[in-house]
Symmetry: C2
Subunit: 441 residues, 2 copies
């Protein structure tokens, strides 16, 4: 069975989405919009919904509704509006403190009955750095070293209460067994944290750990910690290579490769016919604002291009990818795409407008299901990070027309069989490092 | 009209609460428990519910369910479970970053339709410091200086989007007026924050600012920033003196004293008769665990007493209150109480067990309403921070039996007349410092 995550980005992943008639101008920060989307995804039996994040105003607000809600807070609101679906939010190890973040995700896991997931990011943008007292983003390697220590601290905090700490003896006044609640006494390079957490261990033991960095540092990090990986892959061959590489790294790290689920992004541009899908793709591209796309391109690659050069090839940035301190893997993907296909800047902006480097598939529901089945059965994906270009319609159409095809082919669940996010992804509840017990089946 | 805030503390404010038959052993981190409480308070037309907080495991878990949920996350969950009532959470300026916290409270204000409030604390405990890389709590004065700069940064971030930023021109592709969204370019002693926030301005402009420190530094801080103040006052005379002092400080700071609401804490121990109330008070005290109370006393005052000395007077801590780096005002209140009334340590623990220094009133609904009316009409309170010893029953009884008396006397609302927390407290929506406009009536 493949896994489906609904990546919910304001009014849609395509940068033109807000200009379509269906799009609400203030929906990007309207909880009712997200409640609806989460319920639609749950109706479609998705494993999870997911929100990206960075602690800065990202993108050009003059040309797109980039204001938004803080996603860990939003997850708590969605927990009460849904019953089954997993709830994943991004949070940054560079600009948070582990004690604070561990508490919030533990709280979401309790509130949702075990449906919380954390997409661990190190945050590449300079704008974010400048909201936290820095002049520029910390070095790539430094960020990943901090991330690893951050996650280690969180894992210990989440285990700091053993599952069976409770005595609950009202008669004698003994509430808990103090020997089963532990300080963690962490002293490291980045953090000193005494513990214990002030939240008891959660239904999932700890939230599902998700990771989306595909650089060399990112893959190594994923191999050690991730239970699900979101990734941008443009071609089947690239997807297969990434899948094989990451699973090998997981095995090399001493973990079971089956317990790390790899979900490439897919931007489905749907039509009842091929012609209708192509027409929608054309309309999305027609409504792109070049000025916005050029700013995004500069943000992804550091390559500055003016409108005068839209119909020329992408200039050479002259940057060694390993020197990129921002999002290394996305830089390489974008520049490789432009060169491999000989795209002009305008053509490249069209390709990036929907998914910022994620694969766009334009076609009928059956055609999109074919692509997904091919990737799933040929070793490129355990599932997909579905990125509708328009929201809510793109998700509604996917749930109503693509999901039933996947279900009929026996590729996707027709009902939820477990109650936690880990259940949906087929992952066990982790043992507690302070009191190892057999993991639940 | 007086104002009522429901201070929701796990299974009740009294340290014995968990030993009563009604108390759920895991209710302290069960969102269903808090949903019920918030709905009961809303049925009682309370202005708000409120959660205390500190980023550490506070109190002795062996003798009390001190594990809990992170309150800003919990507020987001309660927003969807209620329609009218204000939602206030504590968060620390010492252990958070302003950009992160400003986003979360802005998100709660959006999600709740303008019902968010932030109780600003500087966090006195050493345990918290040790979860954030420090050996001990930063000095009292230092914490308040950081708090002031922290709040200034948040206020600017909350104003960084003017209310009328939206163009929404789908035809031309112009989404927003970039001139109405501002960087804040803050450079201070503690923080450098560029902005803008990535959340648009909220229904209330910014969340209600609440403060609960009653030290000299705390009062000065409240005078500058607070819109509501929670305070612990043991006698009417002390309450009147605090009320007069704080209102004078507000005026001296150039603000309208009517726009800062002062709410002393009250722990109502209710009975249908005086005898029944006294019996309940006795039962609460009987179930106290001396070992727990002594640890709490040490935590509040720094005075270490053993069980052997329970029936002696409180020993002299020999500490100058201005040298206390933790909770200065609570230290003074506890030691003054013990000396003024000549209490033994055991008697003092009994008095502190319900509200840790807040006033306990034992009696019938009419008797408790009399006390509240007296404080309200004689210049000691604009309302009350209601701290039920048992939850849910203590809140249910207050709503069912005390609130109707206050309503019949014309002291309390019988229906909500506004939609935001500021509406409930009779406070205007603040103007935006980047685009001053008349405050809403």
């Amino acid at each position: 069975m493949l896994h489906l995550n609904a990546f919910l980005m304001t009014v849609g992943h395509h940068e033109s989405a807000w200009r379509f008639p269906e799009s609400g101008l203030t929906a990007a920060w309207d909880v009712a919009h997200y409640r609806h989307l989460a319920r639609v995804a749950e109706r479609g039996r998705f494993d999870s919904v997911f929100f990206a994040d960075g602690p800065s105003l990202q993108g050009d607000v003059r040309h797109r509704p980039v204001g938004r809600l803080e996603p860990t807070t939003l997850l708590a609101a969605l927990a009460g509006a849904t019953e089954h679906i997993g709830l994943i939010a991004t949070a940054s190890t560079t600009y948070e403190e582990p004690y604070n973040l561990a508490r919030r995700f533990a709280t979401i896991d309790h509130i949702s009955g075990g449906r919380a997931g954390w997409n661990i990011v190190t945050t590449a943008g300079r704008e974010a750095a400048q909201n936290f007292g820095l002049d520029d983003v910390p070095a790539h390697r430094h960020r990943y070293e901090r991330a690893a220590e951050f996650v280690e601290v969180c894992l210990r905090l989440w285990d700091s209460w053993e599952d069976d700490f409770l005595l609950g003896d009202k008669e004698s006044g003994r509430y808990a067994d103090g020997d089963r609640i532990h300080t963690i006494d962490h002293i490291g390079r980045f953090f000193r944290v005494r513990g214990p957490l002030n939240v008891p261990r959660t239904p999932q033991g700890h939230p599902l750990l998700v990771q989306a960095g595909s650089s060399s540092d990112g893959r190594e990090f994923a191999a050690r910690y991730a239970e699900a990986v979101f990734t941008a892959q443009q071609t089947l061959a690239e997807g297969q290579a990434f899948y094989a590489d990451l699973k090998a790294r997981v095995a090399a790290a001493g973990r079971d490769p089956d317990l790390v689920k790899i979900l490439p992004g897919i931007v489905p541009v749907l039509g009842r016919t091929e012609a209708e899908a192509a027409e929608r793709a054309h309309e999305l591209e027609r409504l792109q604002v070049a000025e916005y796309g050029l700013r995004q391109l500069a943000s992804l690659t550091g390559i500055e291009v003016t409108e005068a050069d839209l119909d020329k090839p992408l200039p050479d940035g002259g940057v060694d990818v390993t020197e990129v301190q921002g999002a290394q893997s996305r830089f390489a993907l974008v520049t490789d795409l432009a060169r491999r296909e000989g795209l002009t800047v305008r053509q490249l902006l069209g390709r990036l407008g929907g998914g910022r480097g994620h694969r766009t598939v334009t076609g009928t529901p059956a055609g999109i299901a074919d692509t997904m089945e091919e990737w799933y059965t040929s070793g490129a994906a355990d599932g997909f990070n579905v990125m509708p270009p328009l929201l809510p319609s793109g998700l509604e159409e996917f749930v109503d027309h693509v999901v039933p095809i996947l279900q009929r082919r026996g590729l996707f669940r027709t009902a939820y069989t477990g109650s936690t996010l880990r259940d949906h992804y087929g992952l066990p509840r982790p043992a507690n490092r302070f009191a190892p017990t057999p993991a639940a089946p």
